[in-house]
């Protein structure tokens, strides 16, 4: 190789003869075209990084002079740009050239412009300030008649474009979707995709056009639009179910070879297109039987057609298998897909093997037996030379871990961990080991030892939850008290042994864990006295390599041990040492210890043994100071007033007349509970003169300081009575595991075992220990849901207990609050009208403002249908999904029971607006419907579960997945033990919005059991719109004026109205009715409206009618809300 280099290098000087030496004054006049060559030659000749740096700096300063010289022509500039790009690529700063790149793109001819644009896209980023200077150029080029210029502009837009300037180019790019050239259309689609990524709200109105792009006659344009659809379906799959038919048809045509031969790659028709379509189908068919059924045929065909002759067919096959396993299952397809996975796993090609393991990893949750089929391959992969394959195998093993194979799997993981050096891998793997160990640990010794390994390897990079969880587990323990003690004892013993080893450095976190455990549980061992333990801790304290945070932990441990110790020499030495420490925190701790040490009685009562989880009673009312307070008061001191009371008084003094009662705030001052003897204020701000009270006060503070991590006030949940807790099965001892393993080995086939070589036998043994318990009976462990029951160390679920206890009472309470005809908040007449004529179709539309969002897709349908000639029309599907929203409730659900309960529920809630009932999911035995009640403080979602079968349903449970933008609070009564036949129950959730958005989905699942048979789980989702959270804000014109000035975020926009709206009153009415805005005032042709986003973000709207144009002006304290509201307004005004 080196001789090649040499030859090339010696040849180079001759090649660049026309170039004078780099640098120097002569260089400036040299022909620019050859300068890049000169630069590269220069760099090539260098031997060190340092010289390269020097040369490039020289080059950059030449360039700097060149680009700013007025004599430099654009042609020269173009060449300079290329050199700048080269320097930037090597990592040198060429920021002086950025502005010239923009200039070049602006002024140059086609070729120069091209370089300019390229340089800009490489140099700048989306939020770079210089980018604004480019906007005008882009707009000009987009309007150009030259295709190349338009292409360049579209390219730059899709690479980097400032978000706030999107409106400037958006209409131009939209127009390009109708361009006659397909390359332009394709790039325009991708540019719009980019906009969708960075500012989804701004392109919402062109979703119709995306549908047109999907039906484009050019395959490339259609393929580009798939990017957008993939993204949008990923965000909200339910909105695009109607397109399933189209995607299936397209895929059918591609698989069937209907595309031009041009699109073949290695004689596979458009493989990338197939991959993209399969991915979209996967998202659409997930948990949706009806949609999945549409795609079974084409998936089957894809699996069949993919003849295994090329890499890229494997790519399609892999996607196909993934899709088959993701959508609603069909056994035939699953069988075929499983076979395909086999082909991957068994393939000698390493890339395919990797993908095979990956496929197994996610398939394993549905079909654990598949792992059994390939167990030998998996074992081989464990020892594969490629670390990536090894890691993927461990990931797979992690998914199949159960109580029986845990030791082997964790051992394998630890082995890998010891070899690996990458922090990212360590963090990841350490977390997994800790999780598994906690779940399935076979015995105490193993658990502690594994955790020791985790702590010493994971060290300080691991997630802080791991040590915290571990300590919590030790402290809270589980149900068997002797088992608890043994675990603690073992932990203490093992740490003492570890500390005995000389010259070993443990990570800080590990030391912290040790010191806490030793401080709390050293009393359990008989062998070593507390003094000995303290001595060990003291030794650590004297170690310089230990951080001061850890030292604080160590001193806390010593403090806890001191009351148990007989002699206190070491403690005294420690106090001496650290009361002069430079670290204030340590000094503080040392002083605390010193004071406690002087008063042994107090110390013992303060630091009881093994009470880390007990409730700590703090005398919050400071009752011990009462006598002192009384004394002071009798001597004429002013009574204590809490801070807010003082503030209030100060404020009220400023006013002339104070009409506001301040009884409320003053009566709530201080602390609840006991009355001070003086009968005035309870709290007291004295500093404590007497020695006794002073000591008491400080000591109680100290107690908090020492135990704050693990005491009540820390993050430990409250410990309550353990009644009602099921008893845990005793953990399986080590012997039985081995026995188990042996059994499986002998069961397998003993004859084969004998004939195999020793190595083979080892592998077999490993296999049987790895895959033990993977059979049909113990699959529970693999499913995330059932995991909790098999935990060895199960934390007590205290929250649940209390909840179930309260449920009954709380349920009654909500009932009563429902029936009480109080606070009618919506005074507006139209609301009442609405309620009266709820069945009236026309007005119904108003109440259903939320569903109005869906109507857009409805109106789109015919248009798209017309345009798409390649797919079968599927109006029936569409109707099923979306139309029923608009039917009156009677027609949506047939169940009689449903209606009755609805009627009764509606009666209870008539004072609030609500949507109509809508079915969200159903099966043979039950159906789930939901409706929204727009209460004035929140959105109340009500789900009605009706039992259609003649059998009782047990343990009906509805859970709502936490969603990013919402705060969801469960109304009590959400787990019903039994739902009788033909009956309906309801679940209620309060939903509040945390961050404004236009539309979001709330998803969840419901599970139940029919008469002791299998459990069934149904998933569903409900769309929520911003309007669900908008309420009128009832304020006066004066307040409006004040608020208006105080808000910083404003948005102004002109909206064209349809003819029917073209008058102030009708526009006003529309806004009032559909957006629930409160009309504050009407002044001439101007209107003031106000609303609030729950819980309390106000938004004001000022509007003026100008011919048929409506000038809208929003202001709010929230920066995003005006945008969203504007969007809704536009929709309402244009839509009606």
């Amino acid at each position: 190789m080196s001789d090649i280099v040499e030859k090339t290098l010696t040849a180079l000087p001759g090649l660049f003869l026309q170039t004078p030496g780099a640098g120097g004054p002569a260089a400036a006049r040299a022909p620019f075209s050859s300068r890049l060559g000169g630069l590269i030659r220069g760099i090539t000749a260098l031997t060190s990084k340092h010289e390269e740096e020097k040369l490039i700096q020289q080059e950059l300063s030449n360039l700097k002079a060149a680009v700013s010289a007025p004599t430099t022509t654009l042609k020269m500039m173009k060449e300079c740009m290329v050199r700048l790009i080269y320097c930037e690529m090597l990592g040198y700063d060429a920021s002086f050239g950025y502005i010239h790149a923009i200039k070049l793109a602006q002024q140059g001819n086609l070729l120069e412009k091209r370089v300019g644009y390229l340089a800009v896209s490489l140099f700048l980023h989306e939020s770079h300030e210089l980018l604004l200077l480019l906007v005008n150029t882009v707009v000009k080029d987009l309007q150009s008649t030259n295709l190349v210029e338009v292409c360049m502009a579209l390219t730059i837009v899709s690479q980097i474009f400032p978000q706030e300037m999107i409106p400037a180019v958006l209409p131009l790019i939209e127009d390009k979707l109708q361009h006659s050239k397909e390359i332009i259309r394709r790039k325009a689609v991708l540019a719009l995709y980019k906009f969708h990524l960075i500012a989804p709200n701004q392109v919402q109105h062109i979703h119709v056009k995306f549908r047109k792009a999907l039906c484009d006659r050019d395959v490339g344009v259609m393929a580009a639009s798939l990017h957008i659809y993939h993204r949008m379906i990923k965000e909200n799959s339910s909105g695009y179910k109607d397109l399933t038919g189209s995607f299936v048809t397209i895929l059918k045509q591609v698989v069937g070879g209907k595309l031009p031969v041009d699109f073949n790659y290695h004689s596979v028709p458009a493989p990338w297109l197939q991959i993209q379509l399969l991915r979209i189908l996967r998202l659409l068919g997930k948990d949706d039987q009806r949609t999945s059924e549409l795609m079974y045929d084409v998936l089957d065909e894809s699996l069949r057609r993919a003849e295994l002759n090329h890499n890229v067919t494997y790519a399609i096959l892999f996607e196909c298998v993934h899709t088959v396993y993701s959508i609603y299952p069909k056994s035939e397809l699953l069988e075929k897909a499983a076979k395909c996975i086999g082909k991957f796993v068994l393939s000698p090609k390493i890339n395919l093997k990797y993908l095979g393991l990956k496929a197994l990893t996610y398939v394993i949750q549905q079909d654990p037996t598949l792992a059994l089929q390939h167990q030998m391959t998996i074992i081989e992969c464990l020892d594969h030379p490629d670390p990536i394959i090894k890691r993927e195998t461990l990931e797979l093993l992690y998914r199949i871990t159960n109580a029986q194979n845990i030791t082997v799997i964790v051992q394998k993981m630890l082995e890998y961990l010891h070899q690996s050096k990458e922090e990212y891998i360590i963090v990841n793997l350490v977390g997994k080991i800790a999780e598994l160990a906690e779940k399935y640990a076979p015995d105490n010794a193993w658990f502690i030892q594994t955790m020791n390994a985790v702590f010493s390897v994971g060290g300080d990079v691991m997630h802080p939850d791991i040590p915290n969880n571990f300590l919590r587990l030790l402290a809270e323990g589980f149900d068997d008290e002797t088992e608890n003690q043994q675990l603690r004892l073992y932990a203490v013993q093992s740490y003492l042994t570890l500390l005995d080893v000389e010259n070993v450095f443990y990570p800080q976190r590990f030391l912290q864990v040790m010191s806490w455990v030793l401080g709390e549980y050293s009393y359990l061992i008989d062998k070593e006295t507390p003094e000995e333990v303290i001595t060990k801790l003291y030794k650590l304290l004297m170690n310089d390599s230990i951080s001061s945070e850890t030292k604080a932990w160590l001193i806390a441990a010593v403090t806890k041990l001191t009351p148990q110790a007989q002699s206190s020499n070491i403690v005294e030495r420690l106090i001496q040492e650290f009361t002069v420490s430079l670290d204030t925190c340590l000094r503080q701790h040392a002083f605390e210890l010193k004071h406690l040490h002087e008063n042994a009685e107090l110390m013992k009562s303060l630091l009881p043994v093994n009470k880390s989880c007990e409730d700590m009673v703090v005398d919050a009312s400071l009752s011990f100071l009462d006598s002192h307070v009384a004394e002071e008061l009798s001597q004429g001191a002013a009574p204590y007033k809490p801070h807010h009371q003082r503030q209030e008084e100060k404020l009220s003094q400023e006013k002339v007349l104070n009409f506001e009662p301040y009884g409320l705030s003053s009566s709530s001052s201080g602390f609840t509970g006991r009355q001070s003897p003086a009968g005035i204020s309870l709290g007291s701000d004295i500093s404590g003169n007497s020695a006794e009270t002073g000591l008491k006060e400080t000591s109680s503070l100290k107690l908090e300081g020492i135990q704050k991590l693990w005491g009540k006030e820390g993050y430990l949940p409250k410990k309550e009575s353990k009644t009602g807790e099921e008893t845990e099965a005793p953990p399986i001892p080590q012997e039985s595991v081995i026995e188990n393993v042996d059994q499986t080995i002998t069961k397998k086939d003993p004859s084969q075992l004998l004939t195999q070589s020793k190595e083979e036998k080892e592998k077999q043994l490993l296999a049987s220990s790895l895959f033990v318990g993977l059979g049909s009976e113990s699959t529970v462990n693999l499913l995330g849901k059932a995991d909790t029951t098999s935990h060895k160390f199960r934390r007590k679920s205290k929250v649940k207990e209390t909840k179930s206890g309260e449920t009954a009472i709380a349920h009654n309470m909500t009932r009563s609050s429902f029936s009480s005809p109080t606070n009618v908040t919506y005074e507006e007449d139209y609301y009442l009208d609405n309620l009266r004529d709820r069945r009236d179709k026309e007005l119904n539309d108003f109440t259903l403002s939320a569903e109005l969002l869906d109507s857009e897709s409805l109106t789109d349908l015919p248009l798209v249908e017309k345009l798409s000639n390649c797919r079968p029309s599927t109006p029936s599907l569409f109707a099923d999904d979306n139309m029923e929203v608009f039917h009156p409730p009677q027609s949506t659900t047939a169940s009689l029971a449903n209606e009755i309960s609805l009627a009764s529920l509606l009666e209870e809630t008539t004072e609030h607006m609500h949507s109509d009932l809508m079915e969200v999911c159903n099966n043979d035995t039950m159906s789930l419907s939901s409706y929204k009640i727009w209460k004035d403080d929140c959105l109340l979602m009500v789900w009605l579960v009706s039992n259609k079968s003649g059998l009782e349903l047990e343990g009906v449970n509805l859970e709502i997945a936490p969603a990013e933008n919402f705060k969801i609070t469960e109304q009590p009564g959400c787990c019903l033990p039994i739902t009788e036949a033909e009956n309906t129950k309801n679940f209620q959730y309060r939903v509040q919005m945390e961050k404004p958005f236009t539309e979001g989905t709330l998803s969840g699942f419901i599970n139940y059991q029919v008469m002791n048979t299998h459990a069934v789980q149904l998933e569903f989702s409900v769309n929520l719109s911003l309007l669900d959270f908008i309420r009128p804000l009832n304020i006066s014109t004066e307040d409006f004026g004040k608020l208006w000035l105080s808000f910083a975020n404003d948005v102004k926009q002109n909206v064209k109205m349809s003819e029917s709206q073209a008058a102030l009153p009708s526009a006003l009415k529309t806004l009032q009715q559909k957006l629930r805005l409160h009309v504050v005032d009407i002044i001439g042709s101007e209107g003031l409206l106000a609303c609030q986003l729950l819980p309390s973000i106000p938004c004001l709207l000022h509007f003026r009618v100008h011919g048929d144009v409506l000038v809208l002006w929003f202001r709010s304290s929230c920066s995003t809300l005006p945008d969203y509201l504007l969007y809704q307004c536009q929709k309402v005004m244009e839509g009606s």
């Binding site: 390229l118 540019a191 790659y265 890499n311």
Partner: protein, 193 residues
């Protein structure tokens, strides 16, 4: 989405660096270096996928690479891309380069850095795969080249230099290199540091 496309030679010298996600300049250089070290460690007969590690976004990201003679082509992608699909996309890109430069070599990538970028722009736009049909890509590039010819031979000088280098008698290098099971026509890539 494709986050970044990196091309560097066996010595880690960057030949093409294109990020589709914003990283500060120094992080970009760090990514190139780290990626090079990750890839260099690996033999040719192990798999072409790597997990991104800490620099580019964690476990959700993958590095998919191919090694052609003196050059490594590395695509950094997120989980929404198919691994094998990207592997073949690299092949399409390299074959297209080969068509456009007629026996592409590392020198072409150095002297025609801008052109390589233009070709890449036709394949991947803003991180999304724009076109995988090789004929279509070449047609687009040719349309641009015609434009250039009409502009005159300003940039012809480096092209002449390259063809001169190509004609130097270099020791015969294997023209067909097997990567995995694929027989890929690898152009005669000459060594250039």
């Amino acid at each position: 989405m494709i986050q970044a496309i990196l091309v560097f030679n066996n010595h880690g010298k960057p030949r093409l660096v294109r990020f589709y996600q914003r990283f500060p300049e120094e992080i970009q250089q760090q990514i190139v270096r780290e990626t090079f070290h990750l890839v260099l460690k690996r033999d040719d007969n192990i798999c072409n996928f790597l997990e991104g590690g800490s620099l580019i976004g964690g476990s959700d990201y993958k590095l998919i690479y191919r090694h052609y003679a003196t050059l490594y082509f590395v695509f950094c992608v997120d989980s929404s891309e198919s691994e094998l699909g990207i592997l073949d996309l690299i092949q399409v890109f390299v074959e297209t380069l080969d068509k456009c430069f007629e026996n592409v070599c590392e020198l072409d990538l150095i002297f025609h850095m801008d052109k390589v970028h233009y070709i890449l722009q036709e394949v991947v736009m803003g991180g999304m795969v724009l076109e995988t049909n090789m004929n279509e890509i070449v047609a687009q590039i040719e349309a641009q080249n015609r434009l250039e010819k009409s502009e005159g031979g300003l940039s012809a000088a480096p092209a002449r230099a390259v063809s001169a280098v190509k004609n130097i008698n270099l020791p015969e290098m294997p023209r067909n290199i097997n990567i995995g099971d694929l027989s890929i026509k690898v152009p005669n890539l000459s060594q250039f540091v």
